[in-house]
């Protein structure tokens, strides 16, 4: 399987995630689209790790997953807090950081 196929697949996943982040108004869906983009990058890194026969890329994917888990914990806490303040997760309302 040529590595180009994995390149194009992860490119398509990344662009779908980017489109979703720009098209939706729900903050949770925007957050999920960011997760999708991170996973597209992970897939590409694993494909290149197999191509160059190097384990360091897979360790990097592991660290990306670690950072994504920490990011989700803090980000969802922020979204819950925003919901408690303004009773909405619409990012058009959340464009001011000050309440």
């Amino acid at each position: 399987m040529p590595v180009q196929y994995y390149l194009f697949l992860s490119l398509a996943l990344f662009c779908i995630g980017m489109m979703g982040a720009m098209m939706r108004r729900n903050a949770i869906i925007v957050f999920m689209c960011i997760e999708l983009m991170l996973n597209a990058v992970n897939l590409l890194m694993v494909a290149f790790s197999k191509m160059y026969n190097d384990a360091a890329a897979q360790i990097f994917v592991f660290f990306i997953m670690v950072v994504a888990a920490a990011e989700v914990a803090v980000g969802l806490a922020i979204i819950v807090m925003m919901y408690r303040k303004v009773h909405s997760v619409d990012i058009n309302i959340l464009n001011r950081l000050k309440h």
Binding site: V3, A12, N39, S49, M51, A55, Q58, I59
Partner: protein, 169 residues
């Protein structure tokens, strides 16, 4: 077309269609379920690429932990009705066009690139024994630092999510 190619194309179509389902479905709960299906397809790709450890970690961490967290938050906020106000048409079309333009530009730039094919011989770098040795010799300092990151993220989430008292300024 061997079993490898067939499973590659099945997983690719599953990943792309479920990713489209994430951004197109109106109900946030459906979006979460589509995203879980996308992660399973990506895990299948990891297995095809002989990265078994990452496939299992992807399922456990992403599909198991992170997505359940998303589902909890959505159900906690009662968002599982499709009452989300939509962006106006113009912004949606602009988002779709700019995303598609990025796809086209990078596709056109990479179309004629010559990268050698993935060699089919079985490599064992993705197995847990090999990755564990690399992680605990070469990357042991980032591993320890990531534990500090987790601790600070946990404390931060608790501090942010704590209910404020009424009169504190």
């Amino acid at each position: 077309m061997g079993i490898y190619e067939i499973s590659f194309w099945v997983l690719t179509i599953m990943a792309l269609s479920c990713a489209l389902g994430v951004i197109l479905s109106r109900n946030p709960v459906n979006s979460v379920l589509f995203l879980i299906a996308t992660f399973f397809a990506i895990s299948g790709h990891y297995i095809l690429l002989n990265a078994q450890f990452l496939a299992i970690v992807n399922i456990i961490v992403y599909a198991g932990a992170i997505m359940v967290l998303f589902l909890f938050v959505i159900m906690l906020m009662n968002l599982n009705a499709d009452t989300e106000p939509q962006k106006n048409r113009l912004v949606q079309i602009a988002g779709a066009i700019s995303g598609g333009t990025l796809l086209l530009v990078i596709l056109a730039a990479l179309r004629t690139s010559t990268i050698e094919s993935l060699d089919q011989q079985a490599t064992d770098i993705g197995l847990i024994k090999n990755l564990g040795k690399t992680l605990f010799t070469q990357f042991v300092l980032p591993f320890e630092i990531s534990s500090v990151l987790f601790l600070s993220a946990m404390i931060g989430a608790v501090v942010i999510g704590k209910k404020e008292k009424e009169h504190t300024a």
